[in-house]
């Protein structure tokens, strides 16, 4: 059972380590990239332990490869389980994507076709991951750049079915919805209205870049207005939910990210007032 948690957080990134360790940053939680700390020791693990003493921590992975047709990597799961046991994280999440096949690892979040075959496979993989980790995980919707037709269902129906089958939760990345909707020409509102709202445990807000033909999920920009509008549309359907700003590149001073987080707080307050 995933503990309900509502608060506002940031992705913890190296340039901000001193502020998180030496001051009380105005966040309710931080999220770290799991793989950066699935190491044996040294300074990164010490810093994570110290951060954990001061803030709840969510573990967000990029290498579980939930969509791999040849199954999950047992060594990876064992290493992640050890980190989970040490950190006692708020959430453990990874993506609806794949990166590994036949012993090759792309280190990229590659897309899945939304077919019944893929649903069966991802269901089995999520079940295995949850058993190995001893807890429910959150699955994040990806930004996608290829329409792997023919599909049997939309991405949001796929996620709905996955949650129903496995009991997993959703990490809903609003920017990814916007990017994929723009790239594939679907309505992002239909997506946000179609996901299982009672399964959403965490929201990511981020920015993107315009490529030569497609939007690219670069996480190197402030959250743009269209993503804020989608967030404001989504919140009344969810109620209070853990929300965070995710920035992975061109990382600005911490106060700029905190200002973005304050905007998320303001939207949430206004939503709460409007729906009261």
């Amino acid at each position: 059972m995933i503990a309900p948690f509502a608060g506002f957080g940031l992705g913890l990134r190296k340039p901000h380590y001193p502020e998180f360790l030496e001051t009380r940053v105005a966040v309710d939680f931080v999220e770290v990239i799991s793989e950066n700390f699935m190491i044996e020791g040294g300074r990164p693990r010490r810093i994570l332990r110290e951060v954990r003493e001061r803030y709840p921590v969510a573990l967000h992975g990029v290498s579980m490869s939930l969509g791999s047709a040849d199954g999950l990597d047992g060594a990876y799961l064992a290493r992640l389980r050890a980190l989970v046991d040490e950190i006692d994280p708020l959430f453990v999440s990874d993506h609806l994507s794949w990166s590994r096949i036949d012993g090759f690892n792309s280190h990229d979040l590659l897309p899945l076709p939304y077919t019944r075959e893929a649903l069966d496979l991802v269901t089995a993989n999520v079940d295995r991951a949850q058993e190995a980790l001893g807890r429910a995980i959150l699955v994040e919707n990806p930004s996608t750049y290829i329409d792997l037709a023919p599909a049997d269902m939309t991405e949001w129906r796929f996620l709905d079915a996955l949650c129903a089958r496995t009991g997993c939760g959703l990490l809903l990345d609003v920017n990814n919805v916007f990017v994929s909707a723009s790239n594939h020409g679907f309505d992002p509102i239909a997506y946000l209205d179609g996901v299982p709202h009672d399964r959403v445990r965490q929201i990511h807000l981020a920015g993107h870049s315009q490529g030569s033909e497609l939007l690219i999920d670069t996480h190197d920009q402030p959250v743009p207005d269209p993503v804020w509008h989608l967030y404001a549309h989504l919140l009344p359907r969810l109620g209070p939910v853990a929300t965070m700003i995710e920035r992975d590149d061109a990382i600005p001073p911490l106060h700029e990210l905190l200002a973005e987080l304050d905007l998320a707080r303001r939207i949430a307050r206004e939503t709460a007032r409007a729906t009261a």
């Binding site: 793989e35 096949i101 792309s106 280190h107 077919t115 490529g211």
Partner: protein, 262 residues
Amino acid sequence: MSLLDLQRDMRAWLTREDGAAAIRLGGEDAAPGLHIHRNNFRASLAACLEESFTRTRDWIGHDAFAHAVAAHVERVPPSSWTLDAYPRDFPATLSLLYPGDPEVAELARIDLALAEAFVGPDAAPLAAAALREVDWDQAVLQLTPTLDLFDLTTNAPAIWSALADGIEPPAVALLPEAGAILIWRQGEAAQFRAIDQMEKQALLAARVGVPFADLCAGLVDVLGEEDGIARAGGMLGRWIADGLIVDVFDSVDGARRRPNSC
């Protein structure tokens, strides 16, 4: 197409830009997206190598390093779930690219070993005071798990240090006899020290559990009694100062031989 076949096609396109695979994945419509993924794939590996081999890059220059990265991505597909594993074969690629410049691969091995020591297992070194009650006739040393040793043929450590300090590096010089390097983490800082073959052999022996007294006996055999004992004592003092010794056991009963151990 089955999911397995689709994933094999996408892998083939990422690593070889397989045109037939691209057509099966959607042809022209899929091309822009496939290019984004190929760029992501190569960029993440390049960034990983760039971050891991800073001094090597400084030594050979950005353009040559970019060429080496491209050659490595072609030669060695990534296999581990962690990008931390990807740099491990890069020194071998550099050996192939620079067969007449052994310092290049040796610099890369230093970069790599320092990076691996940085995130290696934690182990607190024994304080000098804790070693006073040790019976050295029975002692087996347990060395820090981050310790790495390898042979050198050049003055790569001096070049690495100069590059790190931002000063003019010395010219490449072949060592008059085979040397070695010791790399480990002390506290949170990865360290290295050039050593000779005698110290390397002593460390290798200590690491596999050869009692310290046997190490001394071996040095006495080579150097004579007075010099052998002096050398053993000198090495031990340096290993203690470097924080290399994390525990001491009795060679007879396996019990710890230091005070305040749990």
